[in-house]
């Protein structure tokens, strides 16, 4: 697995260097900084999941925390929201604690039920009704997308082994396929893209990119089938599911950015934007993949 990722990274770095050699005057600086960032992200990700489950949990917890931070910073919050915001951030370690003790039942209802009920109560106690509904909804939406959704990545790690696959191999498969699908849709879109799917939300998304992405992502997924319990046909189906989920994850986060009037969620990752700009598709793909597996394979 590590070898495949290494091969892809080496290939893209060499390709970028080759393109720069062929067209020395072309502007490849963004491409090159993006690829550099991929090297670092891959190293951090493998480091985080290779050592122990505890370290992986802390890593994914931090991912959720940082994503929530980027989202909350862009919100128009009211002074009266302060305490509710503190509680919303406290939900991050608590949610990952449920994962760490493998308590699936609590993991799956804590944010959709208990936080959903509790946060508005805390807002009521602040006795400010103007903007109440907006605050309650925005907070809950952020928790659902970035804490509940992303924590499915960590929950995958707790899944027992089936045949040759286990939680860790399934997590690798999911993250690799989703990120590859992002990159491939981008590459196909840049090279062949003509027909925009939703120009008002995300002008980079084209039909050519989307379809090219689906086909090449399926091929990539087939290559990684050894990580999963899927049949070849099923692998293609799952790749399709992940590409579509990731596509809409990216589109939804684009709409959020449009609403906030920003281009990127932050500046953490050079060439990519913020953490949220990188994990946007995973917010959608992770829960979909997790519940597909749970329904059909456990």
């Amino acid at each position: 697995m590590g070898l495949i990722v290494l091969a892809v990274l080496v290939f893209s770095s060499v390709l970028a260097a080759w393109m720069k050699f062929l067209r020395p005057r072309g502007n490849f600086s963004e491409l090159i900084s993006r690829i550099k960032a991929w090297w670092i992200m891959a190293a951090v990700f493998f480091g985080a999941i290779a050592v122990s489950n505890r370290i992986s949990l802390v890593f994914f917890g931090f991912l959720s925390f940082w994503a929530l931070k980027e989202y909350i910073t862009l919100l128009k919050t009211r002074p009266a929201d302060h305490r509710a915001l503190v509680w919303a951030f406290l939900a991050v370690p608590v949610q990952y604690y449920w994962v760490s003790i493998h308590w699936y039942g609590m993991f799956i209802i804590f944010i959709p039920v208990y936080m959903f009920l509790f946060l508005p109560v805390r807002l009521v106690l602040a006795r400010e009704t103007a903007g109440f509904v907006a605050s309650a909804s925005q907070l809950q939406w952020g928790l659902m997308a970035f804490v509940f959704g992303l924590s499915h990545l960590a929950m995958l790690l707790t899944m027992p082994a089936i045949n040759n696959s286990n939680g860790r191999t399934l997590l690798l498969f999911l993250v690799f396929v989703v990120e590859m699908s992002d990159v491939l849709q981008f590459v196909w879109g840049k090279t062949l893209g003509r027909h925009k799917i939703m120009p008002t939300i995300s002008p980079n998304k084209t039909w050519e990119g989307f379809l090219g992405g689906i086909i090449t992502t399926s091929l990539a997924a087939l290559l990684l089938r050894f990580l999963t319990p899927f049949t070849p046909l099923e692998t293609v189906g799952v790749a399709l599911l992940l590409t579509v989920a990731g596509f809409f994850g990216g589109a939804v986060m684009s709409a959020v950015k449009r609403d906030f009037g920003v281009k990127d969620f932050g500046g953490l990752i050079p060439g990519h934007g913020g953490m949220l700009d990188r994990v946007d598709s995973l917010c959608y793909a992770a829960p979909v993949f997790f519940h597909y597996l749970r329904y059909f394979h456990y």
């Binding site: 931070k69 980027e70 919050t77 302060h82």
Partner: protein, 208 residues
């Protein structure tokens, strides 16, 4: 290095700087304007206790003992614990805000600190505001600049600190905060003009 310096360096190195980097996610704009050598007068808007922590956190640890945030004695010396804590960890220069007599006049104390090679951090609004709008600047900083015109003034605008930890709250919400540092300035004119000029510089940073 005194025991106090050691405590301050330890708390900044092990607690406050990691807190700023990992929890607050502090972003810094204009770091190149940060003076390597003092003395200087740093002026900033004020909306939170995070302001002082973030400003002190910008500097290399060994420079900390030379930085004196100018702080209201009536607030920071209101009890023994608070006084000890703010003097130990933040090395504040406590000044009197009300009923100033010749003995309590803050100006000579600030001048003395500058002459001793220490740098000052001043919040000319005089108190923590809501963070939404800049409060009216008081004339203290300008009086000091008038007396020590050779000392450069570093204007700073702090973003989102008051959202993270507003007045009256004790648990911060990790909004991303930003420090915008402007180019060092030297001001001339009378006290009113200097005050207006400093306020305008900080306001410009806010709108930049």
């Amino acid at each position: 290095m005194t025991a106090r310096d050691l405590v301050q360096l330890t708390i900044f190195g092990l607690v406050l700087r990691p807190f700023l980097a990992l929890f607050i996610g502090l972003r810094v704009r204009g770091r190149e304007h940060l003076p390597v050598i003092g003395p200087f007068i740093m002026v900033a808007n004020h909306s939170s206790h995070l302001d002082t922590i973030s400003l002190l956190g910008l500097f290399p640890l060994r420079q900390l003992p030379w930085l004196r945030p100018v702080a209201a004695a009536d607030y920071f010396e209101r009890n023994a614990f608070f006084s000890f804590f703010s003097k130990t960890v933040f090395n504040i220069l406590p000044i009197t805000r009300k009923k100033i007599t010749t003995d309590t006049n803050p100006l000579p104390r600030m001048q003395a600190a500058l002459h001793a090679g220490q740098s000052l951090i001043l919040f000319p609004e005089g108190t923590r505001g809501s963070g939404e709008d800049l409060g009216r600047f008081h004339t203290g900083a300008a009086h000091l600049v008038e007396k020590c015109p050779e000392v450069p003034v570093i204007p700073v605008y702090l973003v989102n600190m008051g959202r993270s930890l507003p007045k009256g709250e004790w648990i911060p919400v990790p909004f991303f905060c930003e420090v915008r540092i402007g180019a060092p300035q030297k001001y001339q004119g009378n006290c009113r003009e200097i005050t207006a000029a400093i306020e305008a510089t900080v306001r410009n940073l806010r709108d930049s």
